[in-house]
């Protein structure tokens, strides 16, 4: 079954000092992921950003699989970031669209036995945004990131739905689309009240919201 998973972390809302403490980051990354950072990324990526990149990727994998297995428990230590490729260019090319610009994203390979996932992560001055997929081809993935005014959970929820629906309405014109939740609290897209086979994932943190869906 095809699914999708994304996550967003706002830098303004994280505690940098705490993130760098061993008792904190060891709840998120494994020893092998720490080694991956030390050997390949310590000279180009602040440690706290690596931790939250890893978190966002793991959370995205969890969201991807929870749609298929609603009883799944989030176990960050069991979702392992095996490889990470740094972008070759600085900056963000766009905040919404189809697929990713491979030159400006971190590309990861994640092992969650027996599954393998692929991630695309955008890191800006303000946030980390990740999307995972079951292949390394993201051409069928539509995604978006938006800054909002409120940090209230209900406002975030409404804002991210409106943001994703605006894109969906351009792709499915003349359809009465809605975003609802299924009985396991996974977001679903309804067309004229009936769920359509387009898995969607929503995320929000502080002033930032993000979505991904798989066409």
């Amino acid at each position: 079954m095809i699914s999708t998973g994304n996550d967003i972390v706002a830098f303004k809302a994280i505690n940098v000092t705490r993130t760098k403490q061993q008792n904190f980051y060891s709840k998120i990354i494994t020893d092998s992921e720490k080694t991956l950072y030390d050997e390949q990324f310590s000279d180009r990526l602040p440690f706290e950003q690596f931790i939250w990149l890893a978190w966002s990727v793991k959370e995205s994998v969890f969201k991807y699989l929870q749609r298929i297995n609603p009883d799944l428990i989030f176990s960050p230590s069991k979702i392992k970031l095996e490889e990470l490729i740094a972008p070759s260019a600085e900056g963000i090319s766009h905040f919404e669209g189809r697929d990713f610009n491979s030159q400006t994203v971190y590309q990861g390979i994640i092992d969650y036995s027996p599954y393998t996932f692929y991630s695309q992560t955008i890191i800006s001055e303000d946030f980390i945004f990740s999307v995972v997929n079951h292949t390394d081809n993201f051409e069928k993935i539509i995604w978006g990131i938006e800054k909002i005014d409120s940090t209230d959970a209900d406002d975030q929820s409404k804002a991210v739905r409106a943001f994703a629906l605006a894109m969906l309405n351009t792709l499915f014109p003349d359809s009465e689309l809605e975003i609802d939740k299924n009985r396991h609290s996974c977001p679903i897209i309804l067309k004229n009240g009936i769920e359509i086979p387009v898995p969607i994932s929503l995320a929000h943190h502080d002033h930032w919201v993000g979505y991904s869906f798989h066409l």
Binding site: D7, V9, A13, I14, N15, R18, N23, F24, K27, I28, W52, W55, E59, I73, F74, S75, P76, S77, D152, A153, S185, H204, H205
Partner: protein, 84 residues
Amino acid sequence: MTREETLNELKKVIAPYTVNKEMLAGINDQTDLIRDLKINSANLVDIIIDAEAKYDIEIDYDSADKMINVGSCLDVITEKINQK
């Protein structure tokens, strides 16, 4: 420490991470940290770290994974306190 005393201390641990104070006051074993208390998942590790400090315990990977609702949090904390 009784389960009620542990619960009262747990409310203090959770308080900084939820704006839903009314719900927090009336939490029970079934209260889900994310769905009911609207705690952002990025703060779950904060709650585990704060619980470790509050109860002077160490919460391992497998135990931390279980802490998704108030009841499971209390079970894990009680187990770790009893192991001291």
